[in-house]
Amino acid sequence: LLKMQVENAKESFPFKTLTLKPREYFFLIQIDFEDKDAEFSVKVVKNMLDQAVTSFLGLVGKGLSLNVLKADSSAKTAIVHTEEKNLNAIWGAMTLFSRFEDKHVRIRVIKSSSFLLSLSDEVGPPS
């Protein structure tokens, strides 16, 4: 009887739903400096984010995966890549970071997405 019930259920529900969660996340961040002529490069942004994560999360935070993919010196924006499980911790560390090389600094997350393409300004509804 149980086998017949299972077979009937398979016949009535032929479709199955699979949920795939993303493993990686990308941030588009904007960095506001106190000194407007401050140097801005991938190396500087990586150094800043390492300090932010270390002060907020300690040595354990230093071991979290964090990559700076691109830094735009004209708009003072950068694209950061991290894993989905570290998302909240790294976002919080960036938001709470306020001093870099004895000067005030502010990191704002403008966009976050599991797809790199959605961070681009050109993506939008079709005209």
């Binding site: 999360l57 300690g58 709470l96």
Partner: protein, 132 residues
């Protein structure tokens, strides 16, 4: 009023030099653990553990101590204890081994008695083997 829940971590502290054990008191232990949390977990660890972190019991003779921490972050505290390598102020090499984690001090003390009993039995067995 919601009850604040804690965890009590029974720890054995091993010293390289046995004389150093008698110089240690609860405040030095507290600062050692606190510095370890600050180093390994930063501001996040300090904020989540500092309000409930306390050294409840320390025995200089046996090297057993009971540390209180919050229930939600007891694993943070446990790993900070494991990563302790030097004592505060004296910088003497030290290692901390967690024996039992309990919800009450009573269960921790019971576990400490069982641990002492088993280690005494082991020592007696070793002495008998050496005599033989």
């Amino acid at each position: 009023m919601v009850r604040i829940k804690h965890r009590y971590i029974l720890t054995e502290i091993g010293f390289e030099d046995e004389k150093e054990r008698r110089k240690i008191d609860t405040s030095k232990l507290y600062w050692t653990i606190r510095n370890s949390i600050q180093l390994h977990f930063g501001d996040f660890g300090m904020g989540s553990l500092l309000s409930s972190l306390q050294v409840k019991y320390w025995n200089k003779e046996t090297g057993i101590c009971i540390i209180r921490c919050s229930r939600d972050q007891y694993q943070l505290c446990w790993s900070s204890l494991t990563w302790v390598t030097n004592m505060f102020e004296t910088n003497s090499p030290v290692s901390m081994r967690v024996i039992h984690v309990g919800g009450t001090i009573k269960m921790c003390l019971r576990s400490a008695l069982e641990y002492d009993r088993s280690s005494l039995l082991l020592e007696c067995a070793k002495e008998e083997e050496e005599e033989d």
